[in-house]
Symmetry: C2
Subunit: 199 residues, 2 copies
DNA sequence: CCTACCGATCGGTAGG
DNA sequence: CCTACCGATCGGTAGG
């Protein structure tokens, strides 16, 4: 008789599903990710695939986690782990621009696309996306506050305003890259950031 | 025998379809707009509805036009038609912020949502969205150039950079309003614009 | 503008 | 992990 799949095999299959799901979802949206299509592309049955997650919503939530994992690997964990503060913030923003510029995921930033897709809905997927956004802003907030107390940003810096403007630069970068394929956009992003992050 | 519907009635029905379509599409996306759902909400048959447009893609293109019509009515045509230049640019940006702040459409800016949804695809809907974006940037470009030649913006102003940054402010505004329901976002947008549009 | 219908695909389940 | 199936819905058409 054929042996059961090992736990390692099961996890590997699950990871294969997630990797492909993230690629599809970042290019065509979390709803464009359908069970049937995903199963066909992976060469497995819908039932076999769904067995790993249970429902489509559970799959979507797992994809959100996977997207966060990729972003964290490519941006904050990629920069030198120097103490929080302005140099770290500058490095993080540069890694962020580079992440979008290199098109690590087809279709650009998964979170930008998924947030725009789900922000008008309710439910666990929307809440998960909002939570990830909040966590990331928290990171930025910590760096900015440190930069201010270090004297590297003006003492009257409006922290939330700066977070708002940094996010605007990144949203515009994603927009110009994805819709216009504008190769000048990363330069524009870097210039805008330079002005924002200079005392 | 019952009389044929008049041309005026037909146009009125078409407009009813478009108004409802735009509301659905801006809240849930241009793909979330399905013929069956739209027909149910409007109390008509799918066939009767499709007769006005022919295909779903043609309906989507008509919705893009309708969204442009609403945006043009609410933003550039709403401000005093003073000569192009910095005062006009400031008025236009304020009308733009106000348009998003008042949530004229459920789900915020139709173009932001639709662009994020279609930027990874190909076809006529994507092209129409890209065209509308380009037309609007052209408007902004004209105002900025005039402001520079009027001496109201610095002579070394990087026009495309400024367009990039204004768009970033608006994308961030839509993001914070829709995902976070952050009532401070319009104030942040106005502050960012004030800095961008001061010599 | 309608009824009646088409094949395809959706998410999901039963049972193994 | 599979086959075989479910009801619902998709965009669209025939015919009136």
């Amino acid at each position: 008789m054929s042996p059961r799949r090992s736990v390692a095999d099961t996890l590997e299959t699950r990871q294969r599903i997630l990797d492909r799901s993230l690629a599809i979802a970042s290019a065509e949206g979390l709803e464009g990710l359908t069970i049937g299509r995903l199963a066909t592309e992976l060469g497995m049955s819908k039932a076999g695939l769904l067995g790993h997650f249970g429902t489509k919503e559970a799959l979507q939530l797992a994809v959100v986690d996977q997207a966060a994992e990729v972003f964290l690997r490519e941006v904050p964990r990629k920069v030198k782990q120097m103490p929080s503060g302005l140099p770290r913030l500058i490095d993080v923003c540069e890694a962020w621009v580079s992440y979008l510029e290199r098109e690590v995921l087809p279709g650009g930033c998964f979170f930008t696309a998924a947030t725009a897709e789900f922000d008008g809905r309710s439910g666990r997927v929307r809440d998960a996306l909002a939570g990830m956004n909040a966590l990331w802003r928290r990171d930025l907030r910590i760096h900015i506050r440190r930069a201010v107390s270090d004297g590297d940003l003006k003492p009257d810096t409006d922290v939330e305003q700066l977070i708002y403007e940094i996010l605007g630069v990144m949203l515009a970068l994603n927009h110009f890259l994805q819709l216009e394929h504008d190769s000048a956009a990363p330069r524009r992003a870097r210039q805008a950031l330079k002005r924002l992050l200079t005392k």
